[in-house]
Symmetry: C6
């Protein structure tokens, strides 16, 4: 099996994207135009691209960047799209590669890595791992990036009597990477405040469901916070909501990467509302077919997240407001 498929589920922050993007300037757009021409020339068989087709390539470069006014630097992936679109145009007997060819090419050029996200999602739905309606205590639909696509990553929390008479343990499973573990540590500052002194009498269990290849990054912070607070307070979480976002120890929501892919995955899974960091709103660049299919709710603090995800959560929102404002 292709080793590329051994991808870790990534709920990473912004830094990865940072390193693979350039500004969306006229100069850089020209570079992409040149790159398209060169690929056509190198290939030798595929026809030239129309202006609209090139525009579509640039649009994809922007989508892949994941940040407004930026374009991806991963030209190798763009190259795959260019060739796939060209081949389609040839098949269709087009004299030029059109925007439609590029859109169609996008699907056939989906890499092995992208397909994993789909398979995971399929499986989760088929095997009842995903819940997308009603309310559940201690269960949250997180969002993650896997390969190049997004996926819904359910997180379940439970509170149990402490093994130790004097001290609580916080146990997070799912093969978490270093940053993901630190994120849980940061989030614990918030639910310890909700619990108060009582915290020492209970163990907190946090489970990332079926993440056998591991979890990286800190973008599940808000999901973990909501799942644990729900479990502590026995308040239901809306299952038609999914969410992504990093958190400070004082409850501010920080930006994350891959919001576009994550939102598209949420739509595919049947989610009705996504909560994303306020400062990421401008990075959302949905494919046409996904536009208008979901409510996108920006959040500046954990308060905003709790308000939109808890069922009958007014009291706990009020309590949290006092603690972190």
């Amino acid at each position: 099996m292709h080793p590329a498929l051994r991808s870790r589920i990534r709920g990473y922050g912004y830094e990865v994207f940072m390193k693979e993007m350039i500004d969306d300037t006229d100069e850089n757009r020209k570079k992409i135009v040149q790159f398209v021409a060169q690929e056509v020339k190198n290939d030798g068989k595929i026809p030239h691209f129309t202006r609209e087709a090139v525009e579509e390539i640039i649009r994809e470069a922007k989508r892949k960047a994941g940040m407004r006014d930026k374009m991806t630097l991963r030209f190798r992936e763009l190259g795959g799209l260019i060739r796939a679109s060209g081949d389609l145009a040839l098949e269709r007997g087009h004299r030029y590669v059109t925007a439609k060819d590029v859109l169609a090419g996008k699907k056939s050029a989906r890499t092995l890595e992208q397909q994993i996200g789909d398979v995971y999602l399929d499986r989760k739905k088929e095997y009842n791992i995903l819940v997308t309606s009603g309310g559940r205590v201690g269960r949250v639909n997180g969002l993650a990036v896997i390969g190049e696509g997004g996926t819904v990553l359910p997180i379940v929390a439970e509170v149990a009597p402490a093994q130790s008479k004097s001290s609580a343990e916080i146990m997070a499973t799912g093969k978490l990477g270093e940053i993901a573990k630190e994120a849980v540590t940061n989030v614990s500052a918030l639910f310890k405040k909700i619990s108060g002194k009582d915290i020492s009498r209970h163990d907190i269990h946090i489970q990332f469901l079926q993440t056998y290849e591991g979890v990286e990054g800190d973008s599940a912070s808000v999901s973990v916070a909501v799942a644990v607070i729900s479990a502590i307070e026995h308040i239901e979480v809306r299952q038609d909501v999914a969410m992504t976002g990093s958190l400070t120890v004082r409850g501010e929501v920080l930006p994350v990467g891959g919001v576009t892919q994550k939102i598209e995955a949420a739509i595919e899974a049947g989610i009705k509302e996504v909560i994303v960091p306020y400062s990421n709103i401008k990075d959302v660049l949905l494919e046409k077919k996904y536009q208008g299919k979901i409510t996108i709710t920006p959040a500046k603090t954990l308060i905003d997240v709790l308000k939109h995800s808890l069922i009958k959560g007014d009291k706990i929102v009020e309590k949290m407001r006092e603690l972190i404002d």
Copy 2:
């Protein structure tokens, strides 16, 4: 000795199978037909396959996938089966390889790895390690995959006075891999709830019997949960029942891999009933000779598992229902 025999016992989740399967589509079936033809050609000596023989090869490809509507990608193993079947047809003087030749070939093509599962099972029966009738406190017949076959993996639990005056320890032995250890951590949330505050006064011992090469994966979660709850509550577990299934920290049963192989192994061991995750039911694809030989009980939550495995367990089932519903 062949290094392949150094296989770890795997009670793994679904992910491994995920990566080695393709959809059961007409297109992919055609690929297998072509693959059979090519193997026949490469070999040079074995005769062509009848349509029914090829159907049998495809059926095996589906069995190996372990998931409904999927076929295995491990063509190398199929190749072994094709050659073994062809050789048998030659021996029998058949002009074409028939479905019967393939069924017979399946047995002779069992790899070294598959044979281990058999040997382990033989040994466990001969050396009284397996118990398959009556009731026992703290002892559960788990199910695992070893090499390419299934096996019954007994798990024993005991509760002892805590070494520490203030804190319980949960000790699981059997050279557990990372995911298996995390699974024990997740399961502990459930038995801590059964125990209540009392948990801190006892150490919990969990032993995977004679797994000298180690245990991977989280499909033993339900077995561990039942063994420990039985030990805590001094309630007997049915020994004619075997079980497999992953668990969330809130008691939901999640799907696992290899259910077909596991059920066949349970039958070989003399088990009368197997409990499997509800969402895995559709993946069961028993060989004809095993069909109807065992009761297959689907479980959605730990409640279902306890109901079918405990003897006189009504009270504890009721208690657990209150705790996890």
Copy 3:
């Protein structure tokens, strides 16, 4: 010095033997006959073997397997025996290699590894490390495999006031391998039950005497259990008894490897009775000279072991019976 001598003392379970054995079938016996013939041919000088001589080789193949109805796969070692027997026959001017030549060859073919077991035993006797008569508190004669031979491995336990006011420590020394450490953990479930709440006020020290190269496996479990229970209860252990056996956390005795070699070593050391797992009884295949020289006592549970090893242990046997039955 030959690196082979750097062998670890192994008190291992059954798995090692498992991997190096084949069934004792007519077909496999034929293979050994062929192997003997081939070795004779390859050597070019040694004479052919009589039917009885070949039988003796097969008997050795069975002894080495360590499991009834199995034969060893370690043909290289058999080859050494064949050549040594042939050389002896030549020296003695025999026209054929006889069964007696093979028996004599067995001694001269003892590998370097086998010799170590002897040396260790010699040293232990000469240096008063072994005690083989009378009764001692906290001291048990365990049995282990070293190289290809057996040896007596004394284990000493002591109970001391706990370093910590609130928690006991269990400390086992002797460079224990992973499985050996897990075995001590499993055994601790049993002596914690004997101790009751009192366990937290004492540290338990367990010492494998002079095992500078390390100890592997779990076959010392019963020895550790008896030594610690003796130390806790101030009851003497019979020093003319030696024992081997793995244990579950609930006190059942599980089979181990190498019982034949271990029993022969016990006889050499002057031990009068050995306790072995009930399911291993059928694996005992002593050389003629050792037959009838020792009482072999089978044990199904720790109760059986305690009954035969403690002096005036009735009360503690009764107490343990209540705890693990």
Copy 4:
């Protein structure tokens, strides 16, 4: 993407600079003059440098050293500047490379590494991670070096009920390197004194925001101290202030590296006042465009830092004075 971009954020002490600098002596200045001549000769195309241009190169060598009366030894970087300035002079048709060409060259010669600092800063501003006005409890603008430039590194602290009934934990996240972790340990001596016995009842959380590549060095010590003291005492920190400095366990401020770059980064971020170690004041060598743009406050002890960064912090300054004087 260029691996050089995978730079860790460094808030390091003085040692790095130490190793890469020589005295600012006439002899060493001559070496730089010779180096410029040699680079011109090696290049073959760029014109000679005027005396003023060489002076500007020397000035840059001093800036890069980061310590008064020292010059950098990193000639490879200077070489880049020389060639960039030469190319500019050629473009502009200059017969000699002038001081202005060098100043212009400095910008175009900014290495990839330098650009990262800019990008990080841009992102932090755009994504609301930076706060540069008003007051906040538990939030401090630290200063760090990233690549060859400076950056503002926000640090957030929070105090929460302790997980353990008897002991506090101090948890710092952000992938801290060894020296950075030791710095937090040292700083803890100071906030434990502020807390008094009460310290054992609370967990202290310290978060370096979005430092996915890790943090090295001890120059964030003062920032951590101020953030934690602010969180403990519920006193606001001025957000228009940024700070850098190492600390002894008794509250003395020790010198750090990179003060010039850090101050310039603070100016770029909109900070109004920077607090730097008293003994580093002489190392500040701002580019002309930054001169006079920010208040530079020297600090000898933590008292000085608290005085300039806390809003209504008189009481706590008084308390700290009693504790560390």
Copy 5:
């Protein structure tokens, strides 16, 4: 400097010697005679050895073995002695190498490794690290092997108020190897019994003086036991006594390696009495010049050791007798 000098101080048990020795049989003596002849032949210049000279070589082979009725297998070292003796005979114009030449050769053939022991000893005396008269609380002269020679290894113990209110720590410094650490653990069983419940209120510090290259083995066990018991009970230890011996957790003294070298080192250091394991007495094979220069006291249990090493230790000996008999 020669890497051989980087030797660890070894206070090891018997196992090392075990592996490098053969039986002192006529057959093996013949092998040494042949080896001498061969070395003479290979060298080409040195004369033949008289029977007495060869006897002296054999005697050295026995001394190096360190165990009665055994001879060393380290022929390479014997080769050095043969050549050195031959060269001396040549220098002296002898026609044959005589026993006296061999005795003289022994000194000049001392390897670099042997010389280290001397240097360490010199240094310890010159720098007042060794104390060889009077009585001291918590200080014991241990004996160790360094390179091929022995050395005196002072061990100092101290009892201090425990850092923790509820638990004692036992801290041993001197870069101890794994077996050495386990030896300290074993010994702790004994001094915890002397201390009783009180043990939890004090930390025990054990320091192997100036062993910068580390300490291996368990032969310092008796020294550590005496040093700690002396420190706990405020009883002086005789400084004109040195000791070596391994210990069981129940106070029995087990044999160790290198007793001859250790005793010779003790004599060189000015020690008046050495305590060695009872079962090692037969291994002592002092050079003529050392014979009768020291009292050699055998010990079967820790009681024997305490009797001969403590000043006014009757009470503590009595107490220990009750605890370990």
Copy 6:
């Protein structure tokens, strides 16, 4: 930058020097004379050395040894000095290399490593890290070796309320190596005795200032002891005193390496008195220009060290005397 500059600060004990020295015998002096002649011959250009010049070389060999009656084995370094002196003699037109040339050569031959010690010292003075007058609580001027030269290494200690209600922590920062950490452990025995039971209520912080490359060895033991005792007792330490010395857990001062270099560094830093181990006094071999510039105080026990370093420390000296005598 030259990797040699990445030297760790070493406060090591005697062992390093031990391995790199030979006896100061006539024979060895002859070897140095021959070495000088050979270097002159190999070089081909530099003139012969006068007897006085050779004497100066020998004197340097003794200084480098660091131990009376020993000479260094590091001939490579001596070679550098010989060539440097020869070159100077040539420059000066001397016919022979004179003692003065050697003295001058010593300065120019200072290796890169030696220069680091100077730079560190410069920096510490310039950046106010060093304090060399007056009294300070919890601050001690230690002495260390860096490269081939000495340096002053300030150590700061502080006592803070314990994080844990029941247990003290001792935290030492500065990237300590294994021996350095063990030294802190040993020293803790002494300050725990001073504190008494009270020790469990406070955390002890020990900081080696700005030792970014790490600290090795145990020669800072006395400095750590004095710094912590000063912090516990709120007694000032004289800042015009520096000290070096290893310690036993019972307060005896043990010898260390590099005393000559350390004392010279102390003089350069403006220190007025150095405390060195009594047994090292004979190793001091100051360059003429340093002779008489500092008071050298020998110490046999920690009492001696405290007497000369504390201001108004009579009471604490008395208390310590009772505890360790």
